[in-house]
């Protein structure tokens, strides 16, 4: 299980306006493309250099394809990254703060202490 790679997905998609739209419209295609092309990019590094070992587990891939923010929270993905990206994708379909409040309510069953987010 790689919290780091989940976070890397959320981070790189959130910071690219085209990828935000692409992930909203085509989650499965975006996750597959991202794992093939971006997962092993070393950010802040010369583009020819890549890592060789980063890969999602089946569950991680599935959670990202289903855009399941509750399960991402339970897996220990960084909640700030998830929240920021999901607001960018879905707030537009709701009234003011409606999405943010529902997002929190969907997590109501998660007990304290929350899952560890350390990477």
């Amino acid at each position: 299980m790689s919290k780091y790679l989940l976070n890397k997905f959320l981070y790189t998609v959130d910071r690219d306006p085209e990828l935000v739209e692409r992930y909203r419209e085509d989650p499965a295609g975006t996750v597959a493309w991202w794992e093939e092309e971006i997962a092993n990019s070393i950010l802040n590094c010369h583009s020819r250099e890549k890592s060789t070992w980063l890969v999602f587990s089946e569950e991680e891939r599935d959670v990202l394809v289903r855009q399941d923010h509750v399960r991402l929270f339970e897996l220990g993905a960084h909640p700030f990254l998830t929240l920021t990206l999901f607001i960018a994708m879905f707030e537009r379909d709701h009234g003011p703060l409606e999405y943010q409040i529902a997002y929190g309510q969907a997590l109501a069953q998660v007990p304290l202490p929350y899952p560890d987010i350390a990477t």
Binding site: Y11, D14, R15, N44, H78, P79, F80, T84, I101, G104
Partner: protein, 287 residues
């Protein structure tokens, strides 16, 4: 030697800019009171007549990422671009550019390293809303050079709370030992209780009003010992999952000094989180 003209600690609320600039039906009901409190707070900095601002904040996964994460970082650059695409998108924050004071950056880096703080540095740093929010609230003309100091309150493993206090004390000493006739304001922003991306977010108040009341008391009274006696890395999970941002307030308590009461204290209970504003005048009250 340089003079510490003011020590200022504040929450940084990215919604303030949009709330305070909105009009008519778009203007939220709490905006007038919020804006009035901010304008009073701004006057506490203006009155101190600063020449340079040391700005303590925390990058929110903008330039600093998990493949290379510093615990404490000092910017040393002639200029700093400000704000990022996702902050424009979510908060409507404007982009702008601030000048840097490289001489003071160099002094804090060298002096910090010599005092056993293994500070990271950056010669090309784009700052985010943890530093631009207090520019917007306290110095909207954005006309003073800055030295940004970033802390990691965001990506565990984090430094211990006491380390933030120690760094605050060191920054105060270093500014006061800078061979300059400039007046320096040291400004830092953090959070009281806060939940982001969890079940307690966006409530009618902050997630833990009891913690907030206690935290305001600690800060207003400079009660570092009381605060450090209760706050641990583990305990900060309880008031809300983003409450580790309170450690930047602890850093500022270190700057202000043990037992030193703030000269200006104010707060505002908003939905989602409580705002809090503190100013100390080390030269004596200027009010």
């Amino acid at each position: 030697m340089a003079t510490v003209a003011a020590v200022i600690a504040s929450t940084h609320h990215p919604f303030y800019y949009r709330a305070s600039t909105s009009t008519g039906d778009d203007r939220p009901p709490f905006a007038d009171e919020w804006q009035a409190k901010i304008e009073t707070f701004r006057e506490t900095l203006t009155r101190a007549e600063p020449d340079v601002l040391v700005m303590v904040g925390s990058d929110h996964f903008h330039q600093l990422w998990l493949d290379n994460m510093p615990q404490f970082l000092v910017g040393k650059a002639p200029h700093y671009d400000a704000n990022w695409y996702n902050e424009e998108r979510e908060f409507g924050l404007p982009r702008f550019r601030l000048d840097g004071d490289e001489e003071l950056s160099q002094h804090i880096l060298r002096g910090g390293l010599d005092r056993d703080f293994d500070l990271a540095f950056s010669n090309e740093l784009r700052i985010d809303h943890s530093i631009t929010c207090p520019i917007i609230t306290l110095r909207p003309q954005a006309d003073l050079p800055i030295v940004p100091v970033y802390t990691n309150i965001f990506a565990p493993p984090l430094p211990q709370p006491k380390r933030f206090v120690q760094l605050g004390r060191a920054i105060r000493d270093l500014v006061e030992s800078w061979e300059s006739d400039k007046r320096v304001a040291i400004i830092g922003t953090g959070h009281l209780s806060l939940e982001l991306g969890g079940p307690r977010q966006f409530g009618e108040h902050g997630p833990d009003p009891d913690f907030d009341r206690k935290a305001v008391e600690w800060i207003a009274n400079g009660d570092i010992d009381g605060c450090c006696g209760e706050v641990t890395l583990d305990s900060l999970h309880l008031p809300g999952n983003a409450t580790h941002g309170f450690m930047d307030f602890m850093l500022m308590m270190g700057v202000a000094g043990q037992g030193v009461k703030a000269d200006h204290v104010d707060s505002l209970d908003l939905f989602h989180t409580m705002e809090a504003y503190f100013t100390w005048y080390p030269e004596g009250a200027l009010s």
